[in-house]
C-alpha cells in the first residue's frame, strides 16, 4: 500500500481510514480470499484442504493465472482487452517444446525465441487495435482463433500430432530449466514468478511515470492525448507485456506436465480476466490493481482446488465461480461509486 495513502489516512482520522481502505480496488479480492480460505479450512480442512500438498497445488494453479492477470490488469486500466492470451500460451508451449525436443536447442535460446514469438503477437494485437480503432474485444477474439488454429496447424504439419512429450526429460540437465521447474522450499518456483510479476506490475502502475500514462490512457483518452501522452504506444507496450507473460506461463506449464500442447490453456483468457475483475479492474478502463489481481488469482486457485473437497458434485464448480464473480463485481462497483462520490455539502 503506497506510503502516500498511509499518511493521508493518518491525516484524516479513523473515519477516513476506514473509507480509504474500503474503497481501494483490491479490497474485495482480499476480503474474498480470506472468506473463501476460512470457508474451505473450516468445512474441508479435515479432508485435506489445509495440507501442504494441496496448498502447493492451488498456488501453482493460481500462479499460472496470476502471472498473466497482473499485466492484463494494466491493459484493462489502459482501457483495452486481450482475449488471445490462452492461444498465446499454446503457441509458446509448442514453440518452446518443438525447439527443445525436435530441434535440440538449449532451454535459454528456445525460451527467448518463444518470448520473441509472443512479442510479435503482442505487437500485432496492439497495432491492429490502435490502427483500426475497433473494439479490442473483437480484434483479439479474431487473433484468439487465428493463433490457436495456426498453432494446431503448424504442429500438425511438423509432427502430425497436437502434443510434444518428454520436454522435461530431454532438458532437465540444462540449468536454465530450473527457472521453470524447481521448488523453493515446499512450493513451486512459479509462486516466485507470480509474486515477482505482480509486484513489478503494481510498481509500474503506482510508482512509475508510465503508470500515470496507463491510468490516463484508460481514464480519459482525450485528456491524455491533449497532455501529450502517446496513448497508442502505451497500449502496444501493454499488449506486448501481456503476451510475454503468456510465454512465461507456457514455459512453466511445459515443465509442470512434461509436455507442450497445442490445445493448452483453452479458456485461460476468461480465467485471467476473472481474476483481474475480482481484483478490482474496471473493463471500461482507468481503474484496477495488480495486487487485487494477485488475490483474484489466488481466490480462483483456492476455489478451483477446494471445491473438490466439498460434498457438491464438481460439475457445479462453474456455477459457483460465476456467482463469486458476480458478487465481486457488484461490491467493486459499489465501492468505486463510493470512492468517486463528491464530498457532500462542502465546497
Amino acid at each position: 500500500m503506497p506510503a502516500a495513502d498511509a499518511s493521508a489516512r493518518r491525516a484524516r482520522g479513523n473515519g477516513f481510514a476506514l473509507r480509504a481502505l474500503f474503497t481501494r480496488p483490491e479490497f474485495t479480492a482480499i476480503v474474498g480470499t480470506v472468506v473463501v480460505f476460512a470457508f474451505f479450512a473450516i468445512f474441508t480442512g479435515d479432508a485435506g484442504f489445509l495440507s501442504l500438498v494441496m496448498t502447493r497445488n492451488y498456488l501453482e494453479v493460481a500462479a499460472t493465472i496470476g502471472i498473466i492477470a497482473a499485466p492484463i490488469t494494466l491493459l484493462l486500466v489502459a482501457g483495452e482487452f486481450d482475449l488471445s492470451v490462452g492461444s498465446v500460451v499454446a503457441a509458446c508451449e509448442i514453440t518452446l517444446s518443438y525447439l527443445i525436443v525436435y530441434a535440440g536447442w538449449a532451454v535459454l535460446p528456445a525460451f527467448l525465441f518463444s518470448v520473441a514469438v509472443a512479442t510479435l503477437i503482442g505487437l500485432t494485437n496492439g497495432y491492429l487495435v490502435v490502427k483500426t480503432k475497433l473494439p479490442s474485444f473483437i480484434i483479439t477474439l479474431a487473433t484468439l482463433f487465428i493463433i490457436r488454429g495456426a498453432t494446431q496447424g503448424i504442429l500438425r504439419m511438423l509432427t502430425g500430432n497436437s502434443i510434444i512429450d518428454r520436454v522435461r526429460s530431454v532438458s532437465d540437465e540444462d540449468p536454465v530449466s530450473l527457472l521453470f521447474n524447481s521448488s523453493v522450499g515446499p512450493f513451486s518456483i512459479s509462486l516466485i514468478w507470480w509474486i515477482g510479476v505482480s509486484l513489478l506490475c503494481a510498481w509500474v502502475l503506482q510508482r512509475s511515470i508510465f503508470g500515470n500514462w496507463i491510468y490516463a490512457t484508460g481514464g480519459n483518452r482525450a485528456a491524455a492525448v491533449r497532455t501529450g501522452i502517446k496513448v497508442d504506444r502505451v497500449k502496444i507496450i501493454l499488449y506486448v507485456a501481456t503476451a510475454v507473460s503468456a510465454a512465461l506461463v507456457a514455459a512453466i506449464n511445459v515443465y509442470a506436465i512434461n509436455q507442450g500442447n497445442a490445445n493448452a490453456a483453452l479458456g485461460r483468457e476468461f480465467e485471467v480476466v476473472t481474476a483481474a475483475v475480482i481484483g478490482g479492474a474496471l473493463l471500461t478502463g482507468g481503474y484496477g490493481s495488480p495486487i487485487g489481481a494477485f488475490f483474484g488469482a489466488l481466490l480462483f486457485g483456492m476455489v478451483g482446488q477446494g471445491f473438490f473437497f466439498t460434498p457438491l458434485p464438481d460439475v457445479w464448480f462453474m456455477t459457483f465461480l460465476g456467482g463469486m464473480l458476480l458478487i465481486a463485481v457488484v461490491i467493486n462497483n459499489y465501492t468505486r461509486t463510493l470512492a468517486l462520490k463528491p464530498k457532500g455539502g462542502r465546497s
Binding site: 503506497p2 502516500a4 491525516a11 484524516r12 512509475s208 485528456a223 501529450g228 470512492a339 463528491p342
Partner: protein
C-alpha cells in the same frame, strides 16, 4: 496597461462558406492584464480564441507573439510559447488523484533507470501548494479529482497552467456552470495569476463575473468587435447593454459606431 502586449490578434477574420464567423477583430493581452472577451452565444468568441491558441488559422489578419508575426501550426506551437488554454472540459482524468492530474503528461521523475519513478512526494507537495486557498484540505490532493467541486476542479486547471509557466492563459467560460462562491474562488485564482504577471483572456457571457476582475473588455457581436474598452471607460450596465447588441450605447461612450 503600459506593458507591451504579449499576444495579439490583429484584424483577424474567419469565414465558413459565405458566413463570416469573425470579421476584422483585434484583441491583445499584456503580461499582468485580464482581458475579458464577452459576447452572446454565437458571437464568435470560440472562433477567436481558437485563432489565438493555434487550433485554427485565421483567413485574414495576423497573430503576433511578443510583437512578431507568427503562424501557429497547431495548439502545441502556441503552448510552446506559453499560451495555455483551459478548456471547459478541463482535460482531467476523473478517477485519478488530483496530484496525478496536476502533473499529467509532465510527471516529475526521481531516481535512476531502472528505478526511475514518479516523484510522488514532490508532486503532492507542489499540488498542495498550488491548491492553497481553494478551500480544499491537504488530504484532498490524494483523492480522485472527480470528488472535487466544479470550482475546485477549474481552479486546479488554472493553477496547473500557471505552474507550468503559462505566459498567457485563455480561460473558456470558467465560471459558466458555477455558483456564486465557486465562481468567486476561480476568479481569485485568475487574480492571483494576473498578480504573478500572467496575461489572462477570460471568455464569458457573464458580465457580473467579468466586470470585477477585468482590466479591459472586448465585446463581440455577430462576429464583429464592438470595441475594446478600459474598465474606467464604461460601467457594468453599459457593458451589459453592449453585449446585448445595443449599439446606441457606443454613442453614449463616445466611441465610433463603425459597425
Amino acid at each position: 496597461m503600459s506593458a507591451a502586449p504579449y499576444l495579439e490578434a490583429v484584424g483577424v477574420s474567419k469565414f465558413y462558406d459565405s458566413f463570416s464567423a469573425l470579421k476584422d477583430v483585434t484583441i491583445s493581452v499584456a503580461p499582468g492584464e485580464v482581458v475579458c472577451l464577452l459576447g452572446d452565444n454565437g458571437a464568435g468568441k470560440s472562433t477567436l480564441i481558437q485563432t489565438l491558441n493555434g487550433v485554427i488559422k485565421p483567413d485574414e489578419g495576423t497573430i503576433r507573439v511578443n510583437g512578431e508575426d507568427i503562424v501557429f501550426d497547431g495548439p502545441d506551437d502556441a503552448l510552446d510559447l506559453g499560451i495555455a488554454t483551459v478548456f471547459q472540459d478541463l482535460a482531467v482524468v476523473p478517477m485519478m488523484p488530483v496530484y496525478r492530474n496536476f502533473f499529467l503528461g509532465r510527471e516529475p521523475a526521481k531516481g535512476r533507470w531502472p528505478f526511475r519513478r514518479f516523484d510522488t512526494e514532490h508532486a503532492i507537495a507542489a499540488t498542495k501548494e498550488a491548491m492553497r486557498g481553494m478551500g480544499a484540505e491537504a488530504a484532498d490532493v490524494m483523492r480522485p479529482i472527480a470528488t472535487l467541486s466544479g470550482g475546485q476542479r477549474q481552479s486546479v486547471a488554472v493553477a496547473r497552467a500557471v505552474h507550468f509557466g503559462a505566459k498567457v492563459l485563455i480561460l473558456d467560460e470558467p465560471t459558466s456552470a458555477l455558483g456564486v462562491r465557486q465562481a468567486e474562488m476561480v476568479l481569485n485564482y485568475v487574480r492571483e495569476a494576473r498578480d504573478n504577471g500572467v496575461g489572462v483572456i477570460l471568455i464569458t457571457h457573464n458580465v457580473q463575473h467579468a466586470y470585477p476582475v477585468g482590466d479591459t473588455f472586448v465585446v463581440l457581436f455577430l462576429g464583429r468587435s464592438l470595441g475594446t474598452f478600459k474598465k474606467s471607460e464604461l460601467t457594468e450596465q453599459q457593458l451589459m447593454r453592449l453585449m446585448a447588441g445595443k449599439t446606441e450605447t457606443l454613442k453614449e461612450l463616445g466611441a465610433d459606431p463603425a459597425v
